[in-house]
Symmetry: C2
């Protein structure tokens, strides 16, 4: 997605260790018009898949997942990391390491919002190590629903998330692909 | 907002201790079409205020704040509760007690996304004790910007948030007002 790539080129910061800061667009400040167009683009790519529900993980997945769910007209469910008092009854639970927080986090989804036999599109901001997305895929399969695909805003190929997800055999779409962040650079796949 | 009130009447659950569960609409599953209409209604009420930026707190404020920011065409900034590695440089920091998590949480906003002389509308899902909103107001004023108002999806008047915010002299708008949740009931202000 050309527009997004240009914005990342202009505003993204390479913080080292493969960490890309796009806090002006998505992860702290949100350009809602841009993110809505990202959601529309993801919706367009999965238009023929009869998606019935979007699943993401709080916090940074919520904005692009909201935009995609709105474009497709389906409910959004976001995995919680800390159980709120309003969550009771059976939950699906996986754990995943957080790249930007340096600890293991929970992914919690109430069974009541993840029925069986749904066609679920999983969204996240980044495809990096793939481990959050792997946790979400496992949750959907535990619920006996189908993962129709995984979509992310930015894929960093050098962190091998695509390989981590390969055994699950799900379609993966990324709006922008970054292949190299060594030596302070941000190299896009089409360069 | 009649539509929202009817949905809360149908789907909301009174969990006792003043806790209203609306996880099917907003706090775990999100009805993005409904929340977008909520954002449009908030935008309508503040249309003449020259809002330049929306501020909310993660996690549950993000969806209605996204919708409002999109309707107004202004950036959204959400206060983080845990500092991610991408956050560096000066931050505004307040603390607030979390009603549904039973602990004190941080509210962190990077100074780079909260410049001076902005006209900021603060959004949250609930106006309950008012203490998260109070923290956000203090952050905006620390940044020498103006709070043009506070808007929330649901106000619970019996938790006195409006009185807590009164000293700040800011306009407060709520889409649905609940006056009583004793004895398992959910009583709306217009009843």
């Amino acid at each position: 997605m050309k527009e997004l790539q240009e914005r990342i080129r202009a505003e993204g910061q390479n913080l080292g260790d493969g960490i890309l800061k796009i806090d002006s667009l998505l992860n702290h400040q949100v350009d809602t018009r841009l993110i809505m167009r990202c959601g529309e683009e993801i919706a367009r790519r999965f238009r023929d898949e009869n998606v019935t529900r979007i699943l993401t993980a709080e916090v940074s997945g919520i904005a692009p997942a909201f935009a995609t769910a709105y474009a497709l007209g389906v409910p959004l469910v976001y995995a919680r990391k800390v159980k709120p008092v309003t969550m009771y009854g059976p939950v699906y639970l996986e754990t995943a390491p957080s790249h930007t927080k340096g600890m293991e986090v929970n992914l919690l989804v109430s069974a009541e919002f993840l029925p069986a036999n749904e066609r679920i599109l999983i969204i996240d901001d980044f495809l990096a190590s793939g481990r959050t997305l792997k946790g979400l895929i496992r949750i959907v399969r535990s619920a006996r629903s189908t993962v129709v695909g995984v979509a992310c805003i930015v894929e960093k190929t050098f962190e091998n998330g695509r390989q981590v997800l390969e055994p699950f055999g799900v379609r993966i779409e990324s709006l922008v692909v970054i292949t190299n962040m060594e030596d302070g650079r941000i190299v896009f796949a089409d360069e």
